[in-house]
């Protein structure tokens, strides 16, 4: 597998919601290439018939009793918000203007 291109890094940055500078793109393209080449060594392992593990613990469907518990007040929930307004989170526009 070959090193990653600068354009590919720019695409990854967009997918990752990271507004990288031109300098960062150059720097990361070289570094990510080295890292990806190294981790690609996992492909050397013959593992066609090996099941994947997503987790160390074989737990499934962990339930707790369905009981009401105290929760955060609106003030607590909004305490760390960058722009709280009228008991809500104010966010920048999410729809394009018509």
């Amino acid at each position: 597998m070959s090193a990653i291109t600068r354009d590919e890094v720019a695409h990854l940055a967009r997918l990752s919601r990271l507004a990288l500078t031109e300098d960062e793109l150059d720097h990361f393209a070289a570094q990510l290439g080295v890292i990806l080449e190294s981790v690609a060594r996992v492909s050397e392992v013959a593992a066609d018939d090996i099941p994947p593990s997503s987790h160390a613990l074989p737990l499934t469907n962990v339930f707790r009793p369905d009981e009401r518990q105290p929760s955060l007040t609106p003030d607590q929930a909004l305490a760390g918000a960058p722009a709280p307004e009228e008991n809500r989170f104010r966010v920048p526009r999410i729809l394009e203007e018509e």
Binding site: S16, L18, R41, V62, G80, P82
Partner: protein
């Protein structure tokens, strides 16, 4: 011996008997922090008032005749990854600068309930990604053995604090070695419990299938006492194991390796290992045999692929976990001038708020999880994870514990690997397999390397829920070294 040089167990006994007050003990440690932390840089936040209030509460409970827990009144340094309602929780990141969580982590709550006195929050690599604390947005911590070297990471503020006698105990989290590696390079005991043995509730998530809170201490018994205080089932963490905590304190007191089968991991030796590290490791093997253990070589062939598998799995999980830092509900928001869309604000905030290593890992994870690459990268790494677990299972059919050096080298100079990710990743070479398989593993000091006089750590790995074995072997080695060294390793540390 001054209060700051005493063990946690000794301090708890002094407080329980009334010989000293919890306030005096906390005062002594806060004074020490004031004296040395400018040089060490272990703390991001010192909570003097809250600490003294908690200490006074312990003294009041004692005065009222209440039975106190085994660590009541003992001060502790708390890694800044754990949510604390009364102190900032930044994870070493600008994106969370000044953030105060609206709830306590389960580990935090249990520390408070046990009467431990939280002195403050310790520095760490941003979001626990790193092996040196150089990735902290607030500057690196320094190794008390040699201030020009790193204290390890990611829990490097926690290791520096305890090694510099600013606290007798500290907390950490271990995702790929972030407790054991800093403990090894500062001459401390550091334990990664079995995955699911300690709660992740309120721990800012890095890689959820790997993250494990655990203790730092200057001796094995203290680490076990702290382990017992904050571990155990937590209904708020769905990956928490619903089983009793293994008998770690009893094991630390038992301190015997008579008849124990010890396996030396063949794969963790040779090129890349510092000669002084290997010399101390071979000495430890001989010592274990001398005290009645049967030491044999064991091969775990898939361990060679643990590092590449880890550096696919951990970034994949982190790229998903860190999506929560979206500038909408909490933390930093940059560029919201009324003209930009939410998506633009998000991208500007994340670019300004995350450091280079976090950005690298988010992008590596995004790459590994994207369609077209998923099978070759993330899927294949998950299969390697299965093979590593099978290696452990096969090994533990032959032996009771596995041992290796904790790290290939001693603490490296600050700056040496800071912009070389692959060199930095090598620090976790020996510690990663236990994270991928979920095993218990500890690092205990085993002497100083001849080349540089820096501490060397020995790693002891045990099966899932075999945490007590780590403490049993660690305590036996500690007792043997005490006889040889005429005290603890930290007594050899240069005073600064």
């Amino acid at each position: 011996m001054t209060l700051i040089h005493k063990s946690a167990a000794e301090l708890a006994a002094l407080i329980a008997s009334g010989e000293v007050s919890a306030v005096e003990v906390s005062r002594a440690h806060l004074d020490r922090i004031a004296e040395v932390d400018e040089q060490v840089g272990a703390f991001l936040h010192v909570a003097e008032d809250a600490a003294l209030a908690q200490a006074r509460a312990v003294d009041a409970r004692r005065a009222a005749g209440e039975e106190l827990g085994p660590l009541a009144g003992v001060p502790i340094a708390h890694k800044d990854v754990f949510a604390t309602t009364d102190m900032p929780t930044t994870c070493g990141s600008k994106i969370l600068e000044g953030w105060r969580p609206p709830y306590d982590a389960t580990v935090t709550r249990r520390l408070r309930e046990a009467g431990l006195v939280i002195l403050g929050k310790t520095n760490m690599d941003e979001f626990a990604m790193g092996s040196s604390t150089e990735n902290s947005a607030f500057g690196p911590s320094r190794n008390p053995w040699d201030l020009s070297r790193v204290p390890g990471g990611s829990s490097g503020g926690s290791s520096a604090a305890v090694a510099a006698f600013e606290a007798p105990l500290s907390t950490g989290t271990d995702t790929g070695g972030s407790i054991r590696q800093p403990a090894a390079v500062t001459g401390l005991v550091g334990m990664k419990p079995t995955y699911g043995g300690s709660s992740r509730y309120g721990v800012v998530a890095f890689a959820s299938s790997l993250d494990t809170p655990g203790p730092f201490a200057r001796n094995v018994l203290d680490a076990a006492l702290l382990h017992a205080v904050f571990s155990g089932h937590d209904p708020r963490d769905s990956t928490s194991i619903d089983a009793p905590v293994p008998p770690v304190v009893e094991a630390a007191r038992q301190a015997s390796v008579e008849g124990l089968r010890v396996g030396v991991v063949n794969e963790f030796s040779g090129e890349g290992y510092q000669p002084g590290v290997l010399a101390r490791f071979h000495e430890a093997c001989a010592l274990l045999e001398e005290f009645g253990a049967k030491v044999v070589e064991v091969s775990c062939p898939s361990f060679r692929y643990a590092m590449p598998a880890y550096y696919l799995i951990a970034p994949s999980e982190c790229s998903s976990n860190l999506a929560r830092f979206d500038a909408m509900r909490f933390g930093l928001r940059v560029g919201d001038d009324g003209t930009r869309s939410a998506e633009e604000v998000m991208a500007l905030t994340r670019a300004a708020g995350f450091g280079p290593e976090v950005k690298r890992r988010i992008m590596i994870g995004t790459y590994a999880l994207s369609s077209g690459y998923y099978d070759a990268y993330y899927g294949q790494a998950q299969k390697v994870r299965t093979l590593i677990t099978r290696d452990f299972t096969a090994a533990f059919e032959q032996v009771d514990v596995l041992i290796s050096p904790t790290t290939p080298t001693t603490a490296f100079p600050i700056g040496e690997r800071a912009d070389d990710p692959m060199a930095m990743y090598l620090a976790d070479l020996c510690t990663i397999p236990a994270n991928l398989a979920g095993n218990a593993a500890i690092s205990v000091p085993c002497g100083l390397a001849d080349e540089d006089g820096m501490p060397v750590g020995l790693q002891i790995m045990a099966p899932v829920l075999g945490d007590d074995r780590c403490y049993r072997v660690g305590a036996a080695l500690e007792a043997a070294y005490r006889d040889r060294w005429g005290g603890s390793l930290l007594e050899k540390a240069p005073a600064f």
